[in-house]
Symmetry: C2
Subunit: 433 residues, 2 copies
């Protein structure tokens, strides 16, 4: 059975994944001479840089997500289908999905990356990842639920397990979550959980490397560490987490931390698909591509963004797995596709810089020529993220939320909304994700 | 084991349920001479009149919900605990919860009402209720999911099952949902599901009685019926639904409608609690109370709102189960409690009127002296509901959403956000609800 798509004389481009790479490509190919089929397991695009604010009850998922159909309302050659993809058969130019098979003339792999537990099954069982809005919401609920429970726990050790939080990974996500949690501890929890001694709450940030924000400048790393210490986060560098049984986090040096909650932001791994040859897959499961994003050995199969591994002069070990690379690769590929790869242009990454925020008024920004930290960096961070969001309404809502939270010192979305499990439909729910 | 609550010399009032009745009472008793313990299974208050807009992707749950802890941040004598309640022991003045037992001096039952399937197990298994934000979100996801699926279904009959919707119950909820669905069919679906023939979508509203909006004026009923017909809703009066197997809805007259989705808004039933004597429970599981909301036979156990059954001169069969009754009863009880029931005041319902909205620009309003329908009624509906919402931020967000949706003819929150089921934690999830 085939997926039901209107027949066409045009060449068909199938894009798997509507993250920054896949969505940018589909938008650039709108009104082109191709038929574009965009596939994603969700019916919306997720703005990953703000997941942590969803987890911290500062923003709603809908403010940082955008329905894909809405984007293509006025576009006739782009078709969206909500589905997973099971397999690709590159010989037959066919992909298999639960909806049916689909033939392609060009295939673009843009499935992004997911959490990497580095094979540690125990950690995978107990730690909370943060690579989707659903996971971010789950984390929000877990934190709030545990504070509610802690009110009723008299035993000190058991209460510590509920209120202390360990964040593993000192990249932007880990740093931003730690900063936001420290602010919640300072401004919100003492007002709402008066019966708890909020000084008992410990926030640990564990980083394997010798500095935070690896990949940014040493000025940024040092400032981030200083900002976090100032607001009470306990930062541990050069420390590897080796296990987490749901009650204790174990470190390689033999030390342990009592906590029921570990937020795992320690690494990512590209999402693979069955049917791609083993030899094109490299470290972190990334797929080797040439400077045109064509997968090694293929001319009409491409990989973009987090899952593409391309060696460029200044990036001999591949590009950083960030939104900017994904978007720029998509733009370059769109240009090459539009001219049917006649004199195609090689991809050249234009690094616009990187940044991370640490709570109120503080951020670190590295641009190519200038690096700065503190209040001005924080304003730059806000403006850049606001403009990067899709949709005028999302921009308005995020802006008002930020303004509101800033003025009131309060993220007010602390609702534990549990999924409704319809009667007799439990099996159906279990299969989700 | 007892729930961990700070000890006190004050008399303790335990309120079960933070709906309109329970929350209003707790707020009125803030800074009183009682210790007030407010219990709810959710950590937020839900604004029921706008559930249907959450289901129709017009508003986010957070815009119509309010975190209970936030309301009582500055109040010292009110304590909130998130918990279900298992039993009450009126002889020992004790309630039992999963968190432990709790002694009370005064007990207020304010658990509201839930969907009534009138004992029809088949309907309960397959129909979708709409009495919580979780259920409203589930309905939203079900509708959107089915449209996605329908794109891939070639068989006419099977596709009808996915895109047609049957609403059972012609009260405000049923009327409002039907109106919103008809607008979605008209303005949004043709733009986003271009490959579907949206004329194939049928929206059925089935009402058992001989008019819509029973309890409102005949002008309102007739106008509602006319407005719904105008926007394409197929209204069936005097029709009883006898069964729904997930594929076909069966009526008492033997007719059937093909649809996979039935929204059940046909009736409510009060939430009961184990331990209350059988003889105080009456029709619809409501609890008989005297004019002071004291449960029959008790002086220190009260029932408020949807679950209270009080006979008043103008309301010989009990009050309507609406927010206004709940709020006014709570206010009256708060006054009587504050003066220790010395010369207590009898409850007298001041009916401020009722209203319902049917899509853009159209509503029906019955006030005590004047009844009107149409555009002005719709403006009144908007203003009243906006002001009734708790919280300045919620008001702002709902207002902007309404303005945005009105100008763009578009509810833009069409995200199917699936709950994240953590690895190895399926059992935990199943127990929810």
């Amino acid at each position: 059975m085939y997926i039901n798509i209107p027949p066409t004389d045009k060449e068909r481009i199938v894009i798997i994944g509507a993250g920054f790479a896949g969505l940018s490509l589909a938008r650039k190919l709108a009104k082109s001479s191709y038929q574009v089929i965009l596939l994603d397991k969700n019916n919306f695009h997720q703005f990953q840089p703000l997941f942590y604010q969803v987890a911290m009850a500062g923003l709603e998922p809908s403010s940082i997500s955008f329905p894909l159909r809405k984007i293509f309302q006025k576009v006739k050659n782009v078709f969206f289908r909500m589905t997973e993809v099971d397999r690709v058969d590159t010989a037959a130019q066919l992909i298999s999905t639960p909806l049916g098979d689909l033939h392609y003339d060009h295939l673009v792999l843009a499935m992004g990356a997911d959490t990497n537990f580095f094979g540690n099954e125990e950690v995978r069982r107990h730690a909370i990842p943060m690579k989707s809005v659903s996971e971010a919401l789950y984390l929000r609920n877990a934190i709030l639920n545990d504070f509610e429970k802690a009110l009723n726990v008299v035993d000190y050790d058991e209460r510590q397990g509920l209120i202390d939080i360990v964040i593993v990974g000192g990249g932007p996500t880990g740093v931003e979550v730690a900063g936001a949690l420290a602010e919640m501890k300072k401004y919100i929890l003492p007002r709402e959980y008066k019966e708890l001694d909020c000084d008992e709450i410990d926030i640990h940030l564990i980083q394997g490397a010798d500095c935070l924000l690896k990949g940014m400048s040493s000025e940024a790393s040092e400032a981030a560490e200083r900002f976090l210490s100032d607001i009470g986060v306990q930062v541990k560098l050069n420390t590897r987490v080796t296990g987490f049984d749901g009650k204790y986090v174990s470190m390689k040096d033999g030390s342990k931390i009592r906590s029921n909650k570990v937020i795992w932001a320690a690494g990512i791994r590209a999402n693979t698909i069955e049917g791609m040859p083993e030899e094109v897959i490299t470290y972190g499961r990334r797929i080797k591509v040439n400077p045109y994003n064509q997968v090694e050995g293929f001319s009409r199969v491409y990989a973009l963004g987090d899952l593409a591994y391309m060696e460029e002069k200044d990036f001999p070990e591949g590009h950083p797995q960030v939104a900017q690379v994904a978007i720029q690769q998509a733009e370059n590929l769109a240009k090459n596709l539009k001219k049917n790869f006649v004199e195609p242009k090689e991809f050249a990454y234009n690094d616009l810089g990187s940044m991370a925020t640490i709570g109120r008024n503080r951020a670190v920004v590295d641009l190519s020529r200038v690096k700065f930290q503190g209040f001005f960096a924080w304003v730059v961070w806000l403006v850049v993220h606001l403009f990067a969001l899709i949709g005028v309404k999302n921009k308005i809502f995020v802006f008002i939320n930020w303004l509101w939270n800033y003025m009131t010192y309060d993220q007010s979305l602390r609702l534990i909304i549990r999924p409704y499990l319809p009667f007799g439909k439990k099996e159906k729910m279990e299969k989700v994700e």
